[in-house]
Amino acid sequence: METHPTPRIEQALHGYDHGHRLLAASATLSAEALRLMDRLSDAAGTTGHPDEDGYLTGYPLPDGRYALARTWPAWEIPRPNCVWTHTLVLTKEHLVDDADVGRWPALLRRPDGDLKVYEAPVADARGRTKGRVPTAAQVDEPTRTAICTSLYGSDDGLAWAESGDPSLRDELALAVWAQLWPALRRRFAFCSGALEPRQAGARAFDLCLVPPASARAFRAAAPSVPGAQVGENVTRWLAYDLAQPSPPFRQFLAFVAGGSTRRTTIASLANVWVSLTDATEPQEALAAAVREITKIGPRPDQARRLKRALFRLPESPMLRLASPVDVFTILTTGPLAASVTPSDATLGSWAGLAWAAAPDRVLSFVATQTPNETRQLVEQVVEEQASPPDLPRLASSAPALLWRVLARNTSDDAWWTAFAALDAEAIAEAARVAPQGEAATLSRAAAALVGDGSDIADRWRLLAAAVGAEAVMKPTVAALTKRRPISEQWRDALGAVDPNGEHVLRHAESSVELAVAAEVVEPTPVVLGRGLTPWDGLSERDVASLRRGLAVLFLASVASPQTSDPAFTGRVYGELYRRLAVDEAADEWAVLRARLKGSPDDWDRCKRLARTLAKALRSSGSRRVDLVVAHAAREDGAAAARLVECLEEPPPKRKLRIFGIEIG
């Protein structure tokens, strides 16, 4: 059932009425078209007679339409050599479909007295007829071959053949006409019962099929058309196609030939087709494609339809004939790299297929190709199609591309898990080209590397060293808030990157982040010299959670007693005193041991703690001291009492040393 309306078909009838003339027509024809139609609707010669069933004539009209006609002898007219001719005036739309070529001749009718039927257009043409692609299956192979050789070996000039059977002449004419693509079909002039060579305007007919009685006139007037040699395998294929139409071949012709109106185009394209379809090995097919394209269209702007037909996915025949990787290689670095544009070849799609089959080959191209449009296209494909398992190869072959892939997937945890699994070498390679301005990506990368693996902190250090502490510290500190207590390897790693805790402290915003910062910073003079001021945001709970960090806070408070908040100082001292009093507090003591005042042999760590604080407070005012003591007492009463006791002790005399001998 037709789903689209058929453009109506105008028609005309010619016959003899005191001269051969137009007797009825459904539409007005231009004077030029009418003159041509008047002439070509008349008998196709004076010698011989048309057969009872008549013959077909097809020719282009000056106005761009096409005339398809059948001519019958008009036996009922007393004057000999008079004819009836019914002509269909076809538009471009009528000649697109191969099946329509077989449909329209069935509409041609010999008049039976009523001429008025020819004064209206043919309605519902498609509904009234059965479409079929004409074939020349009944025509012998030598005739088909000879016609193909002479017709397709040159762009102009008459090709003719002799046959005594009018139905076979019709069959061959229609089969040839159907074999052509629409643009050439609309220009093609043929006659299946020519009695003499015919002209359509200034051009000779393309094809005449001739009854034997008229062959002599053709031999005399129309010698065989000289033209380029059409290869035997090509004519064999074309002759075969006349008998057994190949829809893929016809589609290939229609697409690639496009608007060409040259008959020799079909020979060229059939040559390409045969080369490809005869290939038994993938390399043969590719070599054939390379050969034909290099010959027909060496420049990117030449033979573009052919190139699209060969390579454009998903219809590309190369998909069946060769491996995607080989096709990709030929299009990117091989002989066709300069001949076929990426868009004509749908290079992106081939890159995708090649990536799925052999990603290393694709990355090898990316790694070695100078930046250009093709490489950009392939990189884009990789960005879109890479998956987390591809990260190791991206890191080794195209580390810059790795970062672009990660940038597209910052919210996908699978990618960061894969990133964290990269070995040190891969991380180092990636870190070397890490994009300095991509804060979000670097942040995610740093956070991803905060983990528990044996060398994970080392890998983090590689990244941090390459991109700078400032770029990685905030996400790292944030990540470490979930990994407490902080391990020594992370302390070492951050300490190596940020020895004075500058970046750590700048990016520790929340109380828990400050707690992490306290745990990781080394008690360097710079850190301690800041006093307790940087730690003002620590909550009591987070202070209580500290380990070595509590010791660092204590040391900071005694290093700058005048600037440190006395209440904070008292709380830190009290908490620390209580821990030292009740348990080993190994982490805290490790930090305090060398820095507390007092004899190293003195096993009373609490005393040493109190003495250290008392010494620092001696120069402070009483109010400050009172506050420290008061807040210490809240934490631990014994701590406060010990502090007061140390504050009331006289300061030790200074011992004199002369030549290493202590005096006093």
Binding site: H20, T46, P80
Partner: protein, 275 residues
Amino acid sequence: MSGPLVALVGLPDTGKTTYLVAVWNAVQSPAEGHSLSLERYPTAAVYLDDMHARWLRGERVGHTPRDGSELVELALKFNDRPFDLEVPDLSGETFEQMVVERSVTSEVDELLLRASGALVFVHPDHLRPRLTIVEADALGATASSDAEPTAPPLDRRMLPAEVHAVDLIHAIYLRRRAEFAAPARIAIIVSAWDSVADEKLDPSRWVEKRMPMLHAYLRSRSGDSHRVFGASAQGGDAGPAVAEKDPVSRAWVVEAAGDIHHDIAAPLVWAAGLK
């Protein structure tokens, strides 16, 4: 070929090809009184032979299709002098196109310019005489009427034969003058003369009476060479009866003043300037 070219001019069905076939018959089998004979048989005589066979059978000669126009080239002898004659047998539709559409192909144009002379054929069946105003008045046909007359659209094909003839002759004359070609000899051939023989008029008088416009035109061009002939190339109505006549004497010609003879080629000889 370098000899004279004589064009056969006329609308469809005016007897051009029949005349040519009758000439072909005559030159192949010249009898006494015939001015032309065949010097040698042409290499491409299929066209003529095919139609000659019909003519001999008394059948109507086939319609000459527009695509089937032939340039007949004959090696002839006139008074034992050999010469070559070209006679393009063009389809009548070609000349109909000239008078109706006012156009002609370049090939036909070239032939008409090259021609030494032309035979312009008119057929008595195509006279299509019109009423003059005086005659219409006499019949009362021009009385005023309340009803608005509805004139049919003009079909130039249906104009009287004399209008077409004058049109063709004048077109040839103007074209040749524009190219500085010498005036051609124009032989007016009234075909199927056997059908009007009963009127007992010689061709000139017949044209004067039946085709007064053509007559007046020819008189106005008295300085040019023209003659009127009557010709029966078929020898009578097509059919078995005419086939039984002796082919040598079957066709006949009537000179302007009324002389009758069987030298069917005579108008051709005159138009070619041989006589």
